[in-house]
């Protein structure tokens, strides 16, 4: 379970982007953080990953507050998370196979044959078994995101998956493929997932609950039906 409790964050230049944000993501569910650019959703994701430290509030991951943890103490928490960054953030000097096997090699004591088999299994799971020896720059945007999903799940089975705008810059059909994959991963593995997006369609496709951000605050938090039922001008503009 993930619990954001009164989280506020201000960048060093004095710009406050999160104001007292409280959200709960029960285990095994998917939350979509929805909102316009600059509304604070990606900042909240970075707070969850421990890349940014909020000035106020707590972020509980399975009842452990990660805010006061040092980088070293965060490592075991992070190893239970799989993260898919915008555009994949694949290591561009490594092949697709090396990207996916990177964490396996580093943290698991396995023989070469087992590493290769595991890597291929993960790539086949995302439908990209044939890309093993390609370099990331030989892949399309959608393929890079799918490889990033494979990499995120490759080592230890993560309990939490985090997606930072996984469909941004993709055509609608490829974006739908990515959303289907996100849904498949969450359901088949029973993972807790958090997805940042500014596309309503993605949120509806993958999320159990939606948090709509406006100016660093949670403007709406609920499910799809509740969102549709809300007669709020900002929500209506977003739905239009």
């Amino acid at each position: 379970m993930i619990d954001f409790d009164g989280v506020s964050f201000t960048y060093p230049d004095g710009t406050q982007v999160l104001f007292d944000v409280s959200l709960r993501v029960p285990a095994g569910t998917t939350l979509a953080l929805l909102g316009a650019s600059g509304s604070g959703k990606t900042t909240l994701l970075h707070v969850l990953l421990g890349l940014l430290k909020p000035q106020d509030g707590r972020v509980l991951v399975d009842d452990v507050d990660i805010v006061p943890l040092s980088e070293k103490k965060l490592r075991p928490v992070r190893r239970r998370m799989g993260v898919v960054f915008q555009d994949g953030a694949l290591f561009d000097s490594l092949t697709v196979g090396e990207n996916v096997s990177f964490l396996i090699r580093e943290v698991m004591d396995l023989g070469e044959a087992e590493i290769e088999a595991r890597t291929l299994r993960q790539l086949e799971y995302v439908g990209l078994g044939h890309t093993l020896d390609l370099m990331p720059d030989e892949l399309s945007g959608g393929m890079r995101r799918r490889v990033a999903v494979a990499r995120a799940m490759a080592a230890a089975d993560p309990a939490i998956m985090v997606y930072d705008e996984p469909t941004s810059g993709l055509d609608p059909i490829t974006a739908d493929t990515i959303c289907d994959l996100v849904r498949k991963v969450s359901e088949e593995k029973g993972l807790t997932s958090v997805l940042v997006t500014h596309r309503l369609r993605d949120a509806f496709k993958v999320a159990d609950r939606i948090a709509l951000f406006k100016d660093g605050r949670v403007h709406f938090f609920g499910d799809r039906e509740e969102l549709f039922a809300l007669e709020d001008p900002y929500v209506q503009r977003f739905l239009a």
Binding site: L74, R78, V83, F85, Q86, F91, S93
Partner: protein
């Protein structure tokens, strides 16, 4: 105008501070675990062996230029027999370490800054962090160790090639006798001369590694920012190398009681 200069100075001091932190972090990381052999060999190959050609050419032409100038000047005083010693001392104490380091600053420091800068901009550094890795141990330390090991080796190579270059020009242009040249070289190869020449590359290696890594990891503002960081890394490293060259040279001379 003053505020622009002030901003540049502040930025420079900040990068120095980060460079020092990364150096300390790399040393700490070395105590918790050595870099993976594959990572280290890859870096030593890219940063060190990849610089072999440019360093040999630099040493060769520096030595040849010195051989040419000194053989002409020394002939005026009838002291051509000292050519080997003059070339050896100048190269080993000063030009060999400085020129090699400056070439490495241009090639290696910029390479490190642009590679790490691109990784930062592409969120690959964040990806490493969220995978539970320390970017200093994974990215900075192997590069620092590779430069620290390879720069002294390349400097010695440049020194050797330069002395040979000085001989070639002295022999062909100045008509220096082979035995006289190498006997003078032998006189220049003293422990005192070698000491300064060996200490400097280690200091310069820390500068090149730290400045390259700090500039790369601090870069921001997309691809233009990476380009800016790369250029700045070369400028900063070159200036610091020249300053450090004077300071180390001064300290060695004081330590040896020559001044």
């Amino acid at each position: 105008m003053l505020s622009v200069v002030g901003d540049h100075v502040k930025r420079g001091v900040y990068e120095l501070q980060v460079g020092a932190q990364l150096t300390a972090g790399s040393v700490r990381a070395l105590f918790t675990g050595l870099p993976r052999r594959r990572d280290l060999l890859e870096q030593m190959d890219t940063l060190g062996a990849g610089s072999f050609g440019i360093v040999v050419l630099t040493g060769l032409f520096a030595g040849m230029a010195m051989g040419l100038q000194f053989s002409v000047e020394l002939a005026v005083y009838g002291a051509k027999g000292y050519l080997g010693k003059m070339v050896t001392v100048s190269i080993i104490r000063e030009l060999g370490p400085v020129l090699t380091a400056l070439m490495m600053a241009g090639r290696v420091c910029s390479g490190i800054a642009s590679e790490l800068g691109s990784m930062k901009i592409g969120r690959q550094v964040d990806a490493l962090r969220v995978m539970g890795f320390d970017p200093v141990a994974k990215l900075v330390m192997p590069r620092m160790v590779a430069v620290f090991v390879m720069l002294p080796v390349l400097t010695l190579m440049a020194d050797a090639v330069a002395v040979v270059g000085g001989y070639a020009v002295g022999y062909v242009v100045g008509g220096i006798d082979t035995a006289t040249y190498w006997s003078a070289v032998d006189q220049g190869l003293t422990v005192e001369n070698l000491t300064g020449g060996i200490i400097k590359p280690f200091v310069f290696a820390v500068i090149i590694g730290a400045v390259g890594c700090a500039s790369g990891l601090l870069s921001s503002g997309g691809t233009r920012g990476v380009g800016r960081a790369t250029t700045q890394a070369v400028v900063n490293a070159s200036i610091l190398i020249l300053v450090a060259n004077f300071l180390v040279g001064y300290l060695v001379i004081r330590a040896l009681g020559w001044a």
